[in-house]
């Protein structure tokens, strides 16, 4: 009973092209949908991590040969600080940074090429994901 049916199916080639077309279309659709879901997941992950970032500049101390910034990561993800800004009324100066701070940790960052923080109205740091933390020195708010 089974053998004649199998033989009949093997010899009957009608409708094969339809099957091939449907399979190829399905492959294309699966590729598109999986890519969209993957990219969406990646960028959602990026946005979520960015929302978890919370860095604070808790102190600025002028030392003999420069300035030390005390930075605290109050968020739940590791942050990578990439730029430091010293803004005054006359100039907005940007400095490259490369500092990682783990979640909940505090770090000191000393630069010997910064000595004019007294004039600064705003000090801020930027993370690699785009979070900006602003610090207004107390001497600007008597």
């Amino acid at each position: 009973m089974l053998l004649p049916t199998m033989k009949h199916l093997r010899l009957d080639k009608r409708g094969i092209s339809n099957v091939i077309v449907v399979m190829l279309s399905l492959v294309l659709v699966v590729i598109i949908v999986s890519n969209v879901i993957l990219w969406s997941y990646q960028m959602n992950q990026f946005d979520w991590e960015r929302m978890q970032e919370n860095v604070e500049i808790v102190g600025i101390i002028q030392v003999v040969n420069g300035t030390t910034f005390t930075l605290q990561n109050k968020g739940s993800v590791t942050v990578h600080l990439v730029s430091l800004w010293i803004d005054s009324s006359t100039i907005h100066q940007r400095y490259d940074m490369d500092l990682y701070i783990n979640a909940g940790c505090t770090a000191n960052y000393t630069r010997d090429d910064i000595s004019f923080v007294d004039n600064a109205s705003i000090v801020k740091v930027t993370t690699e994901r785009g979070t900006i933390s602003v610090f207004t020195p107390s001497w600007q708010n008597p």
Binding site: L28, N35, W39, S40, D87, S89, T90, H92, R94
Partner: protein, 129 residues
């Protein structure tokens, strides 16, 4: 010369060519559509700093590309009015000043909106010193 069966060969050949062409068109259309979609989804820009420059009387905006694709700044609006600026494109992770030609007035509030070619807006209020 025996010409029997040639039409069958020709029709099969033509069908193959049409099928291959159709699949090629479908594949390239898929590639273009998904690439555009991916680029739109992956675009992230931030404004790190805005400097109302006393020396040039212009507004300098420091822009950073924090997304996954290269960006092109297509327009800058200040208080909903298009202003001229230096053309700027930023690779992934790149950052640069965007010089906006604007005669700003001290102590005024400005709504600065930076627009990319893919339609991403970065906008905020800034007060001139």
């Amino acid at each position: 010369m025996d010409k029997r069966g040639i039409s069958a060969v020709l029709s099969s050949l033509l069908l193959t060519v049409v099928a291959v062409a159709a699949m090629a068109i479908a594949t390239s259309a898929t590639y273009v559509i998904t690439t555009n979609l991916r680029e739109n989804m992956s675009e992230r820009v931030i404004v790190e700093d805005v400097w109302f420059n006393n020396f040039t009387q212009n507004v300098d905006v420091y822009v950073r590309n924090v997304g996954e694709v290269e960006i092109y700044i297509s327009a800058v609006y200040v208080n909903h009015t298009s202003e001229s600026f230096n053309p700027l494109s930023l690779e992934i992770g790149e950052h640069q000043w965007l010089n906006v030609s604007l005669n700003w007035v001290p102590s005024s509030l400005y709504y600065i909106d930076v627009l990319t070619t893919r339609g991403t807006h970065v906008a905020a209020y800034y007060e001139a010193p």
